[in-house]
Symmetry: C2
Subunit: 191 residues, 2 copies
DNA sequence: ACAACTCGTTCACCTAAGTTAAGAAACGAA
DNA sequence: TTCGTTTCTTAACTTAGGTGAACGAGTTGT
C-alpha cells in the first residue's frame, strides 16, 4: 500500500526518507466496509480521501431520490466541497466496495505543508491536473447524448460498468435506470 | 485595472509592494477585440487567462458544429487543458466581447513562483477552489433537465443570457438553439 | 421455507428534445 | 442605403428519454 502511494507521489515531486516517514507517521490508511457512509448531507468535515483500492461514490438526495454524480476508484483523490468552502456538505459520500482509503484532514495538511513546502507544490500540481481532467469530462458529458455517454464510459472506464449497481450508473449518466436498460438493449440490437 | 487584480489576489495572500511591482513588470494586461480567437484546436500554448473585463468562450467544433462548453467573465481564471498536459488543444477559445485580459505564460509563473513561493500557495488555493466550484456546476448540470438548467442560469448568471448569443447559450445548456427558443416560449406561457 | 425487499428489465404511454425547413429580424459590408 | 449573412424564432414531424406499472431473479431476515 505504501508503495502505491509513494509511486503516485513520485509523479509530482521526489520525497526524501524523512518526508516519507513524516507522511507514514500520520496514520493515514483506513480500511472501509462496503456501504459505509463517509459523509452525510449537512455535515461538516475536514477530511479528504484518496482511493488506494476500491470505489467510493458521491450522491445527492433530491426529492427523496439518490442522484449519483461521481465515482472515485484507484488513485483518484477527492476533496469534498465542504472542506474548501467550510459550509455543510450538500451531498453524501459512501463506499461502493470494501475499500482502502487514505484519509487526511486539513490540520494535517497545513502542518505537513508548512514543514515541507514541497507538498504545497504537489497539491497545486494535483489540483490543476484534476481541474483540467474534470473540465474534459464535463465537456464530454455536455456535448454528448446519454447513449454516447454510455458508449464512451464503456471505452474509458469499462470496469465501472461491472463493479457498480446499474441504477447508480444510470443516474451517473444523467438518466433513469429504465432508460439505461432500454439503451443497452438498443445498442445490442444495432450490432 | 491593477486595483481589480490586487483586490482579487488579496482574497488569497497579501502582497508586499515588491511583489506587486514584480507582477506589474511582467506586461500582463492585454485588450482583446470581440471575435478574436485566442486559441485554436491543434495549437499548443503556454498562456493562461484571467478576465478583468469582458467575456471569453471555450468551444469545440464537432462534425462542423460549434459546441460551447464554458463562458469566462469578470474575475474568472482559465488555464487551458493543453497548458497542463502539454498536448495540442482540442478546443477553441475566443472573445465574446471586447475584453481586458491578464495573460500569463508558464515561464513567467515558474519564475515568479520560484522567487515568491507565496504565489504557489495562492495558485493551489485558487485551483482547489475552482475545482470545487466546477464540481458543483457539473453536479447541477447532471441532476437537472435543460429547462431547469436555463432557470438556474437565469438565477445565477442572468448577465450571461443578455450578453451572449442565444445559439451559443443553447449549446452551453446542452441543447439545440431551436429547443432553447421553444423552452423559453414554454416558460413564458406557464407564468 | 416463506415473506419482504431490492434490483434489473420490459412494456405502454407521455413529454421534451432533435431534425428539417422556412420565414422574420438584426447585423455588416460594400 | 441595399444586399447578403447570421441569428432567432416558429412549425411539423421524428425520436429518445421520463413515468408508472408489472414481472422475475436474487437477497435478507425470520
Amino acid at each position: 500500500m505504501k508503495d502505491i502511494l509513494f509511486d503516485f507521489i513520485s509523479k509530482y515531486v521526489s520525497l526524501t526518507e524523512d518526508e516519507k516517514n513524516a507522511l507514514l507517521s500520520l496514520d493515514l490508511f483506513h480500511t472501509v466496509k462496503k456501504g459505509t457512509v463517509l459523509l452525510e448531507e449537512g455535515q461538516k468535515t475536514q477530511d479528504s480521501y484518496f482511493v488506494l483500492k476500491g470505489c467510493i461514490r458521491v450522491y445527492y438526495i433530491l426529492d427523496g431520490e439518490e442522484r449519483t454524480t461521481a465515482f472515485y476508484t484507484e488513485l483518484d483523490a477527492l476533496t469534498p466541497h465542504c472542506v474548501i468552502n467550510k459550509a455543510p456538505s450538500d451531498y453524501y459520500i459512501s463506499c461502493v466496495e470494501d475499500s482502502i482509503l487514505l484519509i487526511s484532514n486539513t490540520d494535517m495538511s497545513v502542518e505537513v505543508n508548512s514543514k515541507f513546502p514541497k507538498f504545497d507544490v504537489m497539491c497545486r500540481m494535483l489540483s490543476e491536473e484534476l481541474l483540467a481532467k474534470q473540465q474534459m469530462v464535463f465537456d464530454e458529458f455536455k456535448t454528448s447524448s446519454p447513449e454516447q455517454r454510455y458508449l464512451n464510459l464503456l471505452q474509458k472506464r469499462p470496469d465501472l460498468i461491472q463493479r457498480v449497481p446499474q441504477h447508480q450508473l444510470a443516474s451517473y449518466l444523467g438518466i433513469q435506470p429504465q432508460s439505461l436498460s432500454r439503451l443497452k438493449a438498443r445498442i445490442l440490437k444495432k450490432k
